[in-house]
């Protein structure tokens, strides 16, 4: 008997306790089904709730209520983790970062959905229409296995945000050409074609002091060429560095190779060291806050929206604010491209990147009647019509038929980068040790980013730690 079940038994036994209940889950009758959902408070989840309230008609004829607990992003993990681990059994659906799957599946909180897929061919068909990269990232544990858990809520990739007014300025174009004998990327396609070296050139080129000329006018404040995530918080450097490492032929510890995949020698391979060095060499062209170790995805986005940088690599999920003139000083001067890549030996662009976004998952204590409605709800959510509406409202879709629709690129300017980028997405660490791996790695990366440690030492430390931890956990033999 698991602790969880004992808790459950006892909770039932303690009948009088129910009398004291003030909040908490409401008892569902046959016709009345309430699905409780823990979600981060941001537009993609708000839209989901809105669509549900406005449009969802359950086929079963039951009254289905979606009770959404909107939790502010900064506390989302803490709240969800505490709710799950304390056995509160409060939520039926939980939005989860893909890397949390391991810990929460092992903990017995996330429900495997293979049986539901098998029982419902339509459901299975919908499920299989998801691009395999996001599907693996959002749904599988162990990673890339046939065990499925989640559905995309908001899939996300890194793209390159550019300032068209600055990049396409004739004067700047001319000077850039003169200096680097290359065209300064200006259109989306030109951005797509950028390598990290080009990105670095942009960074170097656009470093302007206050008062120096920028696109034909004196700059009203210091201006910087580039920005991307390099912060110590959560995963705000790993998500970027992973891309560098993969593109340049290195690798992270690969959980799909358990138990034979090693950390030592892989994580700190010469390729990885070179990749990290490349990453670090770009830091100096970023706004000064990068040197404090707090250049997270929000800070770089803020700097971009305030017009302090020419290019910013960031998640699509943060894009809406840059289009809104109320929150963005550059809303009418934008150009978007794919995240820069690395030219392979064969001259082809390698674009590996770490996937972002979140799936939502079912919890193990969800009752049969709730599950029935939940499956219907997910099917509805992943249906092309709703996904199109979602994308039109600022969301992204990983459903092939949706993002391949010509309409799709018209929804948002960055959508042109979406489909090509999907093919280059990877994910890491769907293991229960995720947070330990992440924290240590972020600490080490931070030391490198703030200039206290070189790339080699950094990766050696990380490799050593991972080797130890994962060996202890039995994931490396």
């Amino acid at each position: 008997m698991t602790v969880m079940m004992k808790v459950k038994t006892l909770a039932t036994a303690a009948g009088f306790a129910a009398a004291l209940m003030v909040g908490g889950a409401k008892v569902a009758s046959a016709e009345d089904v309430t699905l409780t959902m823990a979600v981060p408070d941001w537009p993609p989840t708000r839209i989901m709730k809105k669509f549900f309230d406005e449009q969802y008609k359950p086929a079963s004829g039951n009254t289905v209520k979606l009770d959404v607990d909107f939790i502010p992003w900064p506390d989302f993990y803490t709240r969800v983790n505490a709710s799950l681990t304390s056995g509160e059994q409060k939520y039926n659906f939980i939005v989860s970062d893909s890397q949390w799957l391991g810990a929460f599946v092992e903990g017995g909180y996330f429900r495997k959905i293979n049986d539901l897929l098998d029982a419902d061919p339509a459901f299975m068909a919908t499920f299989k229409s998801i691009h395999p990269n996001p599907l693996n990232a959002y749904s599988t544990y162990p990673h890339k296995s046939e065990n499925y858990y989640g559905f995309p809520q908001f899939p996300d990739v890194l793209v390159n945000y550019g300032r068209a007014d600055v990049l396409c300025n004739e004067e700047e174009q001319k000077n850039f050409q003169a200096k680097y004998s290359k065209k300064l990327p200006c259109t989306g396609e030109e951005l797509d074609a950028m390598t990290w070296d080009d990105f670095k050139n942009v960074g170097e080129f656009f470093r302007r002091k206050k008062g120096e000329m920028l696109a034909g006018k004196p700059a009203d404040d210091d201006f910087y060429g580039i920005a991307f995530q390099a912060g110590k918080g959560y995963d705000f450097s790993s998500m970027q560095i992973n891309g560098f490492i993969w593109q340049m032929g290195g690798d992270t510890w690969d959980e799909t190779k358990v138990p034979n995949g090693q950390a030592e020698g892989v994580v700190n391979s010469p390729e990885a060291v070179k990749a990290l060095e490349k990453y670090l060499s770009l830091i100096e062209y970023m706004p000064p806050v990068a040197r404090t170790g707090t250049m997270d995805i929000f800070k770089s986005d803020e700097l971009f929206r305030e017009g302090k940088v020419a290019m910013n690599v960031d998640w699509i999920g943060l894009g809406e604010a840059s289009l809104d003139p109320k929150t963005s000083k550059v809303s009418d001067k934008l150009v978007f491209g794919q995240m820069p890549g690395t030219l392979g030996p064969d001259g082809k662009m390698i674009r590996w990147s770490n996937i972002g976004g979140q799936p939502f998952v079912l919890t193990t204590w969800t009752t049969d009647s709730q599950i029935k409605e939940a499956v219907e709800f997910v099917k509805w959510w992943l249906s092309p019509d709703i996904q199109h509406q979602f994308a039109a409202g600022g969301g992204q879709s990983a459903i092939k038929s949706v993002y391949e629709d010509p309409k799709y690129v018209t929804y948002r300017p960055w959508n042109r980068a979406w489909a090509p980028q999907l093919d280059w997405q990877k994910d890491v660490w769907h293991v229960p040790q995720f947070f330990e791996l992440l924290t240590q790695q972020q600490d080490q990366f931070d030391l490198a980013i703030t200039g206290k440690q070189d790339a080699k030492t950094t990766l050696d430390n990380i490799a050593k730690f991972q080797q130890n931890l994962l060996t202890e956990a039995g994931l490396i033999q």
Binding site: A11, P288, T294
Partner: protein, 353 residues
């Protein structure tokens, strides 16, 4: 002092009587510990609760029978504290002897292994020690800054002057802010691109000013924000002491031509000593728990990881519950030693006077 003390012999230790609180505690402890060890958490919770009720009842009966107003007065507070604070504390103390992760379902008794690991393990111990040393540094700096600034502010406000009331509330406001808001705004104040600090500093030098890119700056930034927020706490306590000094003592001192320094130590200080100690005690305890500002301002970067933030990572992010509990009890031990030292010194002083 107490009005009526009914003389009634205390029951023998093992005599079963409703007022035998010693036996109740003994039985309660034994049963609770057995329950905690042998039964699942959810069952032992109720047993421990019942034992607490038993002990409380014994106390109340005992107090009532003997006219111990002390016991009766203290009982409700103890009851609330026990249920809401002491019980969870004991629970986590218990957990620190197990191998337990809150997101896994196995639990295994390991004795002192968590403590041994926290203190000696190659990977864990240096991190713990380092976080502890950082914490000690923050405790020293923030508490010292708060005590000094708070004290000086209190001196400023100790005299009556026009508009005092309105100026005082200005100084008190920082501690009313929520830590999240003030912390987030301090990231803004310190931000090299947008922030006011860098803006001001850049007027004086060509070099871009970045406060938080080194340890000294990062620590200074955190200490400043924390001291700014909590100095008013010290100030208000000290001020309460200062205004309680009867005015005629100062008049007497003026007549007696007592120097300012002597006046302070011999007249003023005795009135604020107790409150100063209280402020020191509570600020020290809070400083040991410093985490939110660190998280908001540096995420522990530039070597500012405190033990409390370290604990949040271990106990919350990584769900290593029992390991976290062990570290926190080591930390608790240090806080207890330190606060006892304070109290010892304070008591010796006041007895000597």
């Amino acid at each position: 002092m107490s009005a009526v003390v009914i003389d009634r012999p205390a029951p023998q230790l093992f005599e079963v009587a409703p007022d035998n609180w010693k036996l109740a505690i003994l039985a309660g402890l034994v049963v609770s510990i057995l329950a905690a060890l042998a039964l699942p958490a959810s069952v032992s919770f109720w047993i421990v609760g019942a034992m607490a009720a038993l002990v409380a009842a014994a106390f109340v009966v005992n107090a009532y029978r003997r006219g111990y107003y002390g016991g009766l007065l203290v009982a409700p507070a103890i009851a609330v504290l026990f249920v809401m604070n002491i019980f969870p504390l004991l629970w986590s103390l218990g957990l620190s002897f197990f191998a337990y992760q809150s997101n896994q379902q196995s639990i295994r008794f390991v004795g002192l292994a968590n403590y041994v690991k926290a203190l000696t393990n190659d990977l864990a111990a240096p991190a713990n020690w380092h976080a502890l040393i950082n914490t000690a540094m923050f405790v020293v700096f923030t508490v010292a800054a708060q005590m000094i600034v708070g004290f000086l502010l209190a001196l400023l406000f100790s005299k009556q002057f026009p508009l005092r009331k309105y100026l005082l509330i200005l100084v008190l406001t920082p501690m009313m802010l929520s830590v999240v808001a003030s912390g987030v705004f301090f990231t803004y104040y310190y931000d090299p691109t947008f922030g006011i600090l860098s803006y001001v500093m850049n007027q004086f030098s060509n070099e871009q000013f970045i406060l938080m890119d080194n340890k000294v700056g990062a620590v200074a930034g955190i200490v400043f924000a924390d001291a700014w927020m909590w100095s008013p706490f010290v100030m208000l306590l000290v001020l309460a002491g200062l205004v309680s000094v009867p005015k005629y003592l100062y008049e007497a001192a003026a007549i007696d031509r007592v120097s300012g320094w002597r006046q302070f130590w011999n007249i003023t200080f005795p009135y604020i000593r107790g409150l100063l100690m209280l402020a020191l005690l509570f600020r020290t305890i809070e400083a040991f728990k410093l985490a939110d500002l660190v998280i908001l301002l540096t995420k522990g970067g530039n070597d500012t990881l405190t033990i409390s933030y370290h604990l949040i990572r271990i106990a919350n992010e990584q769900n290593k519950t029992s390991e976290g509990a062990a570290i926190s009890y080591l930390m608790l031990f240090m806080v207890i030693v330190l606060t006892n030292l304070y109290l010892y010194i304070a008591n010796r002083r006041s007895q000597g006077a």
